[in-house]
């Protein structure tokens, strides 16, 4: 019995170390974001900022003209919401089709879609950049929405297909015999059954878009500036010594995604392990 309680406590110690390891860097960026500029780089480090310098968020030193922290949040919101909705709508129909409609060559199509999810975006951005410049999609929201389809559309199709797989086919067939049309079966029977799945898919597509660097960095200039590219932008220009202000932008950028994840914790695991585990 003693050895059991010993191995039990070792397990809890490891768990504690794991939590600290995961959380400490996040704690540190939050702490840094509340320090004065000289405090952020002081040795010995300041563990708890006192008093907290909220002004890093509200009215930071002019390291970048104009400051894009808060407007970046709005731009990110528009980019990510639009991109997620676009991919979700197309993905809903396709996911349903591949799951329930006996499409010829379903497996080959799904493999192909998975391989698109794996394309190196740095290769794709070269032609996309040139094409978008020709047709005037640089620095526009729709440009970002379309570009994000590269990772969001395959994700949505595969994810929603796996959710539609859980809907019993008998149910849909009996609805069909009761006189529902094809589209009604999809819209009125199948879709309401996977509401939770749709919400999960949407929120993950949203987070992927929100966290994207390459497309938002290279396909926008002045009009659209997502919060995710504010830090690389500051690093590139003079002002790198303002670690506290950069940290504040960083915190702003992950608050929305972490909040969503907490709301959605029930579905988190499913969304994160898509393609690997299907149930």
């Amino acid at each position: 019995m003693r050895s059991r309680s010993l191995s039990e406590s070792i397990k809890y110690i490891i768990a504690l170390i794991m939590v600290l390891w995961a959380i400490f860097p996040i704690y540190w960026i939050v702490a840094t974001s509340l320090k004065a500029t000289h405090e952020a780089i002081s040795i010995p480090p300041i563990w708890v900022p006192n008093p907290p310098h909220i002004e890093n968020y509200l009215n930071p030193v002019p390291i970048q003209e104009p400051y894009r922290g808060w407007t970046g949040l709005i731009d990110s919101l528009i980019c990510a919401t639009g991109a997620a909705i676009l991919a979700l709508v197309i993905g809903l129909f396709a996911g349903y089709g591949f799951s329930k409609l006996n499409i010829r060559g379903t497996n080959s199509w799904l493999n192909w879609i998975l391989s698109i999810r794996m394309l190196p975006l740095v290769a794709v951005i070269i032609p996309i950049h040139a094409i978008f410049r020709t047709i005037g999609l640089i620095d526009k929201y729709p440009g970002i929405w379309i570009a994000h389809l590269y990772f969001n559309l395959p994700f949505c199709v595969l994810m929603l297909k796996s959710f539609f797989d859980t809907v019993p086919t008998d149910l849909l067939e009996s609805a069909k015999t009761e006189g529902y049309s094809d589209i009604e079966v999809f819209w009125k029977i199948a879709l309401p059954l996977i509401r939770g799945g749709v919400a999960t898919t949407f929120l993950f597509a949203f987070i992927f878009s929100w966290n994207d660097f390459l497309f938002q960095w290279l396909l926008t200039k002045h009009d659209v500036r997502a919060v995710m590219i504010v830090i690389p932008n500051i690093i590139k220009s003079p002002g790198t010594e303002y670690w506290n202000v950069m940290a504040a932008v960083g915190v702003l950028s992950f608050i929305p995604t972490i909040t969503l994840a907490i709301i959605l914790q029930r579905y988190l695991v499913r969304g994160l392990t898509l393609g690997v585990i299907r149930r």
């Binding site: 397990k11 490891i14 768990a15 794991m18 939590v19 995961a22 959380i23 860097p25 996040i26 540190w28 960026i29 780089i41 040795i43 010995p44 480090p45 197309i90 993905g91 129909f93 396709a94 089709g97 591949f98 329930k100 409609l101 497996n107 879609i113 998975l114 391989s115 794996m118 190196p120 975006l121 740095v122 290769a123 794709v124 951005i125 070269i126 032609p127 040139a130 094409i131 389809l149 590269y150 559309l153 086919t169 008998d170 067939e173 094809d182 999809f186 966290n211 660097f213 390459l214 290279l218 995710m228 690389p232 960083g250 992950f254 995604t257 392990t273 393609g275 690997v276 585990i277 299907r278």
Partner: protein, 296 residues
């Protein structure tokens, strides 16, 4: 089970928009990429000229390309090896916790996955800084090093890659851990009971029962990680971009620089095909393992 009776052609309308869009997103840009790779832009006039195999021939003597392939290989292999182990520990430890504790611990440990790689790199470059970084400060206090700049985590050519691997694992271990947990859940209960009755040791049980169920899912998860590591550059951009002489310049980052810092699109396009080839090989492996059927 799929529908037996269904409107013949109408059902294709469901998948058609998706397929058409994906074809448009893939085929045309990739053809365009081929064209770009055969051209050279005159930087003074901006004129784009057909250049034949010039860009491809340039690759033959390019030391940075060889270095890029080397870094990408080391980085990817390191990530896969380390996260296989850390993911396994993560999964086994969290599964072993009491239900009440399990949920909050899992939620806290998952957080890194939700943070963008670009921000992860920024966070860690701050922690690992050689003048004010907390990590070196702690090591100094513990008496393991004598000066703040003794361990140059992100600046040292060799250590740089190790740092990349460790920080990447900070972010993605929870992903592998979740996969491991799902694999553990898929083990039939009577099998575990049988192992109990046969009085297998813990190690035997792991080797003969647990690992049998874990292996397939872990393999797929690691292939996902391999592809994402090989094609990614976000983390490098904020974490090790300052490393001297491009010693942590992975292939993807080299392509980015060639195209968008030196504006040599033709050569960047040619280089892209190497990365696409690498990723395709990994993806093919993945597709061979994954089955989309309703068996599982």
């Amino acid at each position: 089970m799929r529908f037996k009776v269904w409107h013949k052609k109408g059902r294709y309308a469901f998948v058609l928009p998706c397929i058409v869009i994906l074809i448009a997103l893939v085929i045309y840009p990739l053809l365009f990429l081929i064209r770009v790779s055969f051209s050279v832009q005159d930087l003074t006039t901006g004129e784009i000229k057909f250049a034949g195999l010039v860009n491809y021939l340039r690759m033959l003597g390019d030391g940075r390309l060889i270095n890029g392939v080397r870094v990408t290989t080391l980085y990817t292999v390191g990530v896969v090896a380390l996260q296989c182990i850390t993911g396994l520990i993560f999964g086994l430890v969290i599964t072993g916790l009491r239900t009440k504790v399990q949920k909050p611990v899992l939620l806290l440990c998952i957080t890194p996955v939700l943070i963008s790689p670009i921000l992860t790199g920024f966070m860690w470059s701050q922690l690992l800084d050689t003048t004010f970084g907390v990590v070196n400060y702690m090591l100094m206090r513990l008496g393991l090093i004598h000066s703040m700049s003794e361990i140059r985590w992100t600046l040292d050519p060799v250590l740089g890659i190790v740092t990349l691997i460790v920080v990447d694992s900070w972010q993605w271990t929870p992903f592998m851990g979740l996969i491991c947990m799902a694999g553990l859940l898929s083990i039939p209960e009577d099998l575990l009971e049988a192992a109990q009755i046969d009085a297998l040791t813990k190690w035997q049980k792991f080797k003969h029962v647990t690992w049998f169920y874990l292996r397939p899912v872990m393999l797929v998860g690691l292939l996902f990680r391999a592809v994402d590591t090989a094609r990614g550059l976000d983390l490098l951009y904020t974490l090790t971009r300052a490393t001297p002489a491009g010693s942590t310049e992975a292939l993807a980052y080299y392509i980015y620089r060639t195209g968008f810092e030196y504006f040599d699109m033709g050569y960047a396009a040619a280089l892209s095909w190497i990365l696409i080839a690498v990723v395709s090989i990994l993806t093919n492996l993945l597709v061979k393992i994954i089955t989309w059927g309703e068996v599982r």
